[in-house]
């Protein structure tokens, strides 16, 4: 059962006992040889100084108050790490979504045990006061939202009038719940709501889904399965634009949340909900007629994507997703249009090789970003981009402002072109020097979610090419849309080793050593992109070797740029020109 599952991360190693640390230290070298050497030199230097002035030893030894030395780069990374609460939650939303897909339908036996009369006299819900209710869409999430009193009352009524059957403790619930906290005049309890089976956004959800609640008042924890009447409670919460409500921010650890959420009286006001269209951002100057015009439109193409849904077709799975950026309810839109993304044997490692901008913040607890409208589709550090010249905002409030200030999420083409030029021309050392102390830029790309993030920005595509080498051909058509064909070199640092080949992924890596088996086919020399002229969205991208053979590709199988457009029929994934 999900509730008994424990969540950990590598932070659990903190405060390990000395034996565990000793054992760990025997197995793993924690730093590189160069760093080790550097530390030895530092130790020697200090030792030499202390030998000269012995009195310093005692001061050092007993004071315990060493000066803090700010270091810009790491400060940046720490700021990024601070985003993990947000990101954890959003990542959770992705899983929530995934779990609700038909593919993940959890077949439950409906062999309920003794019927329980939750709504009847003398039951748990009897005499409950529903006026104060708070909600979090994700477990272990700092932000807990107020539910308006009228919705809270209606939800309570639905819960009370539903028929409930108590379920065995070992019932499997493999999705994250939406949690309600009910104050109940100082006798609080928690209800974790699970909708399993048909996705709520589908027509047949009411008949084809199972609804469970886990009741927990801190003393008793019981799982119940509700009928269709009870599902009204889920619907009420699910369709609520929860993020436009006031919220509290709970400090970690997220224990005893039943009581803890009511210890907080200060609520924060959410910025009023707004929705957008691309018209709100002026992209007319980026008219797709020259390099700057093309790059600018590509960088900002996400302004055309308010609702996105589709299927990721990977070699071993199909993942459905929907994302409503304009409504930004945090839940999934009922009226999706489809952008199906077909993956031709994309593996995350492969994309990593191409998608990774050179200077990444990989490592040291810096889990970031890929944010759009204050949301993260995925979080990791490896595609992070630095650059004072290329403005961005590292702090959470700034990120959240993206949602409410579309103009603040506007990329300037000239700055990016300059950045790209540096990235292509500077040596690795010089590039690192130049950008080491720069502010971190939160990109809209990711390293292993090419599928999920791809519609949002062409930033990753533009990062991996040398823009100065770009050649443009007009007059192309793809999936009925007018396109430009862009051809550009992939700088050396991204060329190899790439394992894109006609063979399956596993053939690209040596089973024993894990090294790549180099195949001439796998050496990417340049790329071709079919870019939608209206929106700047990369509809399809090919990676080609020096013989002009496409060794890897990614693209959409269906696409439409407004809700009224009919989805285009499936297109076979073949070379379009």
């Amino acid at each position: 059962m999900k509730n008994s599952s424990k969540e950990i991360d590598f932070g659990i190693m903190e405060n390990a006992d000395i034996k565990e640390l000793a054992s760990l230290s025997e197995k793993v070298q924690p730093v590189s040889d160069d760093e080790k050497k550097k530390i030895l030199e530092m130790s020697r230097k200090k030792y030499d100084i202390r030998k000269k002035d012995n009195s310093e030893l005692h001061e050092e030894y007993v004071s315990g108050s060493e000066p803090y030395r700010p270091r810009t780069l790491w400060k940046v990374l720490s700021a990024a790490a601070a985003c993990t609460v947000l990101i954890g939650g959003i990542a959770g939303s992705v899983y929530l979504m995934k779990d609700r897909t038909p593919n993940n339908k959890n077949e439950h036996s409906s062999s309920a045990s003794e019927p329980a009369s939750l709504g009847e006299e003398g039951s748990i819900f009897d005499a409950v006061s529903w006026d104060r209710m708070r909600c979090t869409p994700f477990p272990d999430y700092a932000m807990i939202y107020e539910i308006p009193e009228d919705i809270a009352q209606k939800t309570g009524e639905a819960l009370k009038s539903g028929q409930w059957n108590e379920m065995p403790d070992d019932t499997k619930l493999d999705i994250s719940p939406v949690s309600l906290f009910i104050y109940n005049q100082g006798t609080p309890f928690r209800l974790d709501m699970y909708l399993i089976g048909e996705d709520y956004t589908s027509e047949g959800w009411l008949e084809n889904s199972d609804f469970y609640i886990m009741f927990d008042n801190g003393e008793m924890k019981k799982l119940f399965k509700g009928d269709n009447t009870a599902k009204k409670a889920f619907e009420l919460i699910y369709t609520l634009d929860i993020y436009s409500n006031n919220y509290i921010e709970v400090e970690e650890p997220f224990d005893d949340m039943i009581h803890k959420v009511w210890d907080y009286t200060e609520t924060y006001e959410s910025v009023p909900h707004m929705s957008y269209s691309a018209d709100e951002v002026d992209l007319t100057s980026y008219d797709m007629t020259d390099t700057e015009g093309i790059v600018g439109r590509m960088l900002n193409n996400f302004h055309y994507c308010d609702k996105i849904s589709g299927e990721l077709i990977a070699p071993d799975s199909i993942t459905s997703f929907q994302f409503d950026i304009s409504a930004d309810t945090g839940f999934w839109t009922q009226e999706p249009f489809h952008v199906n993304i077909i993956s031709n044997d994309i593996m995350d490692e492969n994309w990593y090789e191409i998608g990774e901008p050179y200077l990444s913040s990989n490592g040291y607890r810096s889990n970031i970003n890929y944010l759009f409208e204050g949301k993260a589709l995925y979080s990791n550090t490896d595609s992070a981009l630095y650059g004072e010249e290329f403005p961005g905002n590292t702090n959470m409030s700034g990120l959240r402002n993206y949602k409410f200030d579309r103009d603040s999420c506007y990329f300037k083409a000239d700055e990016f072109i300059e950045y790209n030029k540096d990235k292509t021309t500077l040596s690795e050392d010089d590039f690192e020097k130049k950008y080491k102390n720069s502010t971190i830029y939160n990109t809209l790309i990711r390293n292993d979610c090419v599928y999920k993030g791809a519609p949002f920005s062409a930033l990753s595509q533009l990062c991996s090419i040398d823009i100065s080498s770009m050649k443009v051909e007009d007059g192309k058509t793809y999936m009925g849309r007018e396109c430009l064909l862009l051809r550009a070199d992939i700088p050396d640092r991204y060329k190899a080793p790439l394992t894109y080949s006609q063979e399956s992924y596993s053939d690209g890596v040596h089973d024993e050593t894990g090294d790549f088996i180099y195949n001439p086919m796998s050496l990417v020399d340049y790329t071709e992109m079919l870019v939608d002229k209206e929106t700047g969205v990369v509809l399809k991208q090919l990676f080609l070797n020096e013989n002009g053979e496409a060794v890897f590709a990614t693209g959409y199988s269906e696409i439409a740029f407004n809700e009224n457009a009919k989805p285009l029929p499936d297109t076979e994934f073949t070379h379009p020109y």
């Binding site: 760990l24 130790s43 050092e60 292993d448």
Partner: protein, 193 residues
């Protein structure tokens, strides 16, 4: 290594003695310091602290006559104290406050309740066991990547593989680890990866 052995070596060549001691205990010290400072310090602070520990240890052995004491134990004590000191100074700068009881230098555990500690210890053991089950070099790669936060190219040097191969192995290993953890009803949080 005993302090007697250290002194014999030291009399022959002080530099060689220090090199040997450093080589033998570097990972140990770094691991202790890192473990304490991981949550609040940057990498350079940790390096600073580790170098302080060794400077202290070198200095200490200059000033005492040889004996048969356990160097490892002594070094761990210095490392823990140093780490706690730095932890407090970094934390106070960040606006965190601590009770005096928490500065007990001989224990790097916080004053959490016993049951909680026991549960965490159990989870920790499970995690380490399952990481170990991945086999080498994957277990080392995972620890270096997700615990020490090292970059793929740094790890690559340590495990003598190409950076790309490290990424491949790492990606596969973390998937394997997650599956193993799920089997024992533990979820590895994605956000921390």
């Amino acid at each position: 290594m005993t302090d007697k052995e250290y002194h014999i070596l030291f009399n022959k060549s002080p530099r060689e003695a220090q090199d040997t001691l450093f080589e033998e205990y570097f990972s140990y010290v770094y691991t202790i310091v890192f473990n304490k400072l991981r949550s609040c310090a940057v990498k350079e602070d940790i390096e600073e602290c580790v170098s302080d520990v060794f400077a202290d240890v070198f200095e200490y052995f200059d000033n005492i006559s040889e004996g048969e004491s356990n160097i490892k134990e002594f070094i761990s004590t210095v490392a823990i104290r140093k780490a706690i000191n730095m932890f407090h100074s970094l934390s106070s700068r960040n606006g965190r406050t601590f009770s005096l009881e928490e500065s007990g230098a001989d224990s790097i555990t916080d004053s959490e309740n016993i049951a909680d500690n026991a549960e965490r210890a159990d989870l920790r053991r499970t995690l380490l066991r399952l990481v170990e089950e991945l086999g080498e070099p994957d277990s080392s790669i995972i620890i270096q990547k997700y615990y020490y936060g090292m970059k793929s190219n740094e790890i690559a040097k340590n495990v003598s593989l190409a950076p790309a191969a490290v990424r491949v192995r790492c990606s596969r290993a973390i998937k394997k680890l997650k599956d193993k953890l799920i089997d024992v009803n533990i979820t590895l949080k994605e956000a921390e990866l």
